[in-house]
């Protein structure tokens, strides 16, 4: 086999022997030129065989020794991508007069990548589009939920820190469980918290009640809560149904899931509002 094959007459089979080396970029100039001239004839054997040879050659990448890029690389790359996505977002958002957040446009851009990655399989593409949609919706819901939780936490912190808040200890007659602590701020609301409180049986919950000062007044039902696995809970009542001045005491009972319109058990904790 000479290096300069421009004048060589070869059969398709002979050219076929060069395809893997061509796909690797290992052919010398003469062979390469001869093969390219042959490929230009759209040889029905060599053209598809070359496509498969390219796939085969790409598999050699797996033979490289395992190596792991640093986390810093990932951090740098994602930072650049996030910044570019953020810069791109306002332009797209203005054009579309849409309130869609930038990350969603980034998701669309990413979808393009994913689409490119798999678009030879239309069904898979469809699944991925649905998946991205679902994730975008879930992300929106999750963000709203997080924002609500953040707002609640901020309000709780303000109630606990405000010197105008009234501290109310809710004592219990059961020695094995500790007391609850309530902080009631006339403007911001009421926070009740407990630690190491046993979880009610089954799906039952703890329910807060406001006991009115008015003679014969019925306990006003408030919110319900279930302590977490560690027995901790924080209950925020942003808008208590009664003014603090009109409330004699707070009480907490064990109630069925969802709470009750009136207490069905004896209060476990009670604390007077001074």
């Amino acid at each position: 086999m000479s290096n300069d094959l421009s004048n060589d007459v070869r059969s398709g089979d002979q050219f076929g022997e060069l395809l893997e080396a061509y796909a690797m970029g290992a052919l010398d100039a003469g062979e390469r030129a001869a093969l390219e001239a042959h490929l230009a004839t759209n040889c029905p054997d060599c053209v598809p065989a070359l496509q498969e040879a390219r796939w085969l050659v790409s598999q050699l990448a797996y033979a490289a020794p395992e190596a792991v890029p640093s986390d810093m690389l990932r951090g740098r790359l994602m930072k650049i991508v996030r910044e570019e996505a953020a810069r791109e977002a306002p332009r797209v958002a203005v054009a579309a007069k849409s309130a869609v957040p930038y990350w969603m446009w980034a998701a669309v851009a990413a979808l393009l990548l994913v689409a490119a990655y798999t678009s030879w399989d239309a069904r898979q593409l469809q699944r991925q589009i649905l998946d991205v949609n679902d994730r975008a919706t879930a992300e929106l819901r999750s963000r709203e939920k997080i924002e609500e939780e953040l707002a609640a936490v901020r309000r709780e912190a303000r109630i606990l820190a405000d010197p105008e808040s009234v501290k109310i200890a809710l004592a219990t007659s059961q020695p094995e469980i500790g007391p609850l602590q309530a902080n009631w701020n006339a403007k911001l609301g009421l926070v009740v918290s407990g630690q190491k409180i046993p979880q009610p049986a089954g799906d039952r919950v703890l329910q807060l009640w406001l006991i009115p000062k008015a003679p014969g007044g019925k306990p006003l039902p408030s919110q319900t809560v279930r302590p977490d696995a560690n027995g901790n809970f924080v209950l925020l009542v942003a808008n208590p149904p009664e003014l603090m001045a009109e409330t004699k005491a707070l009480a907490v009972t064990d109630e069925p899931a969802g709470g009750s319109p009136q207490p069905t058990t004896t209060p476990k904790w009670v604390g007077g509002v001074s």
């Binding site: 010398d28 598999q59 890029p69």
Partner: protein
Amino acid sequence: MRAFEQLYDRHCRLVYGLVFRIVQQAGSAEEIVQDVFLQLWRNAAQYDAARGPFLPWLLTMARNRAFDNLRLKSERQRRREDQTEEMPVICTVPQFEKQLDEKRRAARVRELMTGLQPQQKRAIELAYFEGLSHTEIAEKLKEPLGTVKSWIRNGLLRIREGLQATS
């Protein structure tokens, strides 16, 4: 963004491993991998899926960039530039191809490479990872040109058969 992160997480080790094997320098390898994935992010629309699957394209791009980084000039570079386009080359996944996950595929390809005759393995590595031509490999190994060609072709065919048998 999340899909891009998943794409990166899925393929970064393979791409980095390939690039590091070629340039042999961690800092350069990371720069190249960053460039490759940024190009992917910025030019996703240029990828034409009708021309072939994604991963061979990504690996071709990474390999080209790694060789560019080594500043291989003259004939070797020209040959590569002629033959491997920046945008995807047409590539077909063979019928027998099975969707092995990357870990198992890597193990299989390494096993198949190890199973080759040492000369076949060495010649393929010089061509793929070091970008040498048939003639350059023959000179380096001090072996006849025809022998080197046979080593590479027969070695690759054995790998293909091995992958086919795995499926």
